[in-house]
Subunit: 345 residues, 2 copies
DNA sequence: GAAGGATTCGAAAACGATTTCGACACAGGG
DNA sequence: CCCTGTGTCGAAATCGTTTTCGAATCCTTC
């Protein structure tokens, strides 16, 4: 009835040995077809499930992959991208027979940490999501003995998968340029050695403007954090310094929220006075007034590619690399298309 | 170096048997203090970690709790409450030594399902989050052999923990009443046998209005789903039917989003023409214009109480019950306080 | 018909922990 | 001095699988 049916019960029922049962169930070649079918049939009828502990003990693997997220940051779990990516990752891993485990920091054993939990459980692989610089070292040290991939951050010596930020920035600038804008500003994210989004989006913007011969240092500003308040402050500084800009490309939707507040206060109307593009396509971008254009990261692919790469690493086919997933510009009503007469040359 | 140090290695190093090592490490009383200290010291120095599989095999438990969420629904994982609750739950469980596992549906074994995975892994308990009616039966059948608690839905014969919806509704009505409102409408959520939020919030509103002698059936409407579009439709019907209402209490912030769109189209200004209260305190409630008042569910407590109840169930101290966590009204600028002269009697 | 290869199968040894139960030493009481 | 109780410790069984390796059988082929 419950989970007490073991391989030994099947052996008795079929009238053979446990070795044969195991081999039949695992598709080994040294068992006849007829016997194999009988074993499978009986196993199914008796409701047999292999005991993962026994198997793990013998095979030294667990069919478990651990997931590690932003140590150090308070609520990294609630980052809007975390869940969709992890969900896609989960689905892909499950198709290969793996299940997801949240590793813990706590333990009754002294000096214990997340990694010793991983080895305790003989976790087969690790997904590092948005991990902080200061927490990285122990992982790098362990990365030779346990496969890992990183998501949303570039970790040296690990294969990392993240959004193609430079390409997105180029698309943003190009889109605004084609709409007739010339004075295009950028509110960039903070610089971070691992979470490179801020730097990459800023660099991409910089280069795209350069290529169009539009570059102006005064139009570039970097926020201090990723919150709406940071965006608000950055935009305030920007708008007082350069009141004549016609478009702003923001590295985060949260910045747009702060920006919108300022615009309401100062009666700057969007898109008539100012065009805006955000980044992330968080839930509410379509509902605020005005709905604003933004980049949607391909969370589905980010997760599934991370899964695929981790599987390769587990099978020993890994090689360090950085994988880029393109983002898509979702067009809503926050950008104005200028008439030919309005375009400044 | 890696995880290969076993209890045998320690036994050899200390010069004793594995039995003694195990007993020393597990705090058994039949081992002398001096020996115990030596064992602990050596174990720490050698970096010993117990092999979870060996222990699980022998002890028939895994120190793992599985988490099951909204089967059947597409993206139940991305429900705004899921992650914070699960995070709080995780933290509490970790303090007791448990780790969290996402159970999978897939497997190479025929007829396999999530529950057989659970028994395969000898999961010690299950957290059911917002599980759908049609997926429930197998869980109920298994609930005698494996402890479970339910969160955000009332599952008969299981202990369930959820927000005190009726109380919140009473608070909402009371708040609006004290502000001078008398014609208070309600956009309720759909009825669902398990996910009772819609019914409970509606019933709570109904009763509170009744108690104040304000009840009017025309002011009550139930949306068909939980999306902004559902809210929009419901509000349209409501506002054409009863144009003279002065306040709306919505069972979901998403409804407020739909409502706000309608208000913009029809130049109904908030809070001057209409006062609004939402439910959930999703991320953007503070940033939309106007920021609106809403109920914040205590995700922290929901998660930690669920953990506590699951631990009790695991230790056999369980008894079926429904636990209510009060929600807090977050006041922002979407409600108008009437002057005494405006209040209708 | 015998040698040799291919195919099937099972006995038994792992894997790394926990637990039972008996052995032993030493204490004190009669 | 013997008997009993208490405190420590270890040998060995056990949990449920997988895997090695030898044995047994069967089929070819000369």
């Amino acid at each position: 009835m419950s989970d007490h049916v073991t391989i030994y019960d099947i052996a008795k029922a079929v009238g053979t040995s446990t070795a044969t049962i195991s081999k039949a169930l695992n598709g080994r070649h040294d068992v006849s077809e007829t016997l194999r079918n009988r074993v499978i049939e009986v196993a199914a009828r008796m409701g047999y499930r292999p005991n993962v502990h026994a198997r793990g003990l013998k095979m030294k693997q667990s069919w478990l992959v651990g997931i590690v997220y932003g140590e150090g940051e308070e609520n990294a779990l609630e980052h809007p991208l975390f869940l969709p990516i992890m969900n896609a990752f989960k689905t892909s891993m499950e198709e290969s027979g793996y299940e997801l485990l949240f590793l813990s920091q706590h333990s009754r054993f002294v000096g214990d940490n997340l990694l010793s939990h991983a080895s305790s459980r003989q976790v087969d692989g690790l997904l590092l999501m948005n991990i902080a610089k200061q927490a990285l070292d122990p992982f790098l040290a362990a990365s030779k003995s346990i496969p890992m991939v990183s998501c949303d951050a570039i970790v040296p010596s690990l294969t990392s998968v993240l959004t193609d930020n430079a390409d997105a920035s180029a698309k943003a600038v190009r889109y605004l340029y084609d709409a007739g804008h010339r004075k295009i500003a950028h509110i960039g994210g903070p610089s971070n050695p691992l979470a490179v989004s801020g730097d990459e989006r800023a660099a991409g913007y910089h280069k795209a403007m350069q290529d169009l011969n539009l570059r102006n240092d005064a139009w570039e500003i970097r926020a201090e954090g990723w919150t709406p308040e940071d965006g608000r402050k950055a935009f305030l500084e920007l708008i007082t310094r350069c009141p004549d800009i016609t478009a702003v490309y923001c590295a985060a939707d949260f910045y747009v929220m702060g920006l919108l507040q300022v615009c309401r206060e100062r009666h700057i109307s969007i898109p008539e006075d100012l065009s805006v593009i955000g980044f992330d396509d968080v839930q509410w971008t379509g509902f605020v007034s005005p709905g604003f254009s933004t980049f949607r990261q391909d969370k589905q692919r980010l997760g599934s590619v991370a899964a695929q790469k981790l599987l390769e690493a587990i099978h020993g086919e890994s090689e360090e690399s950085v994988i880029r997933i393109p983002a898509e510009l979702i067009v809503r009503g926050s950008c104005k298309t200028m008439h030919a007469t309005e375009v400044q040359v």
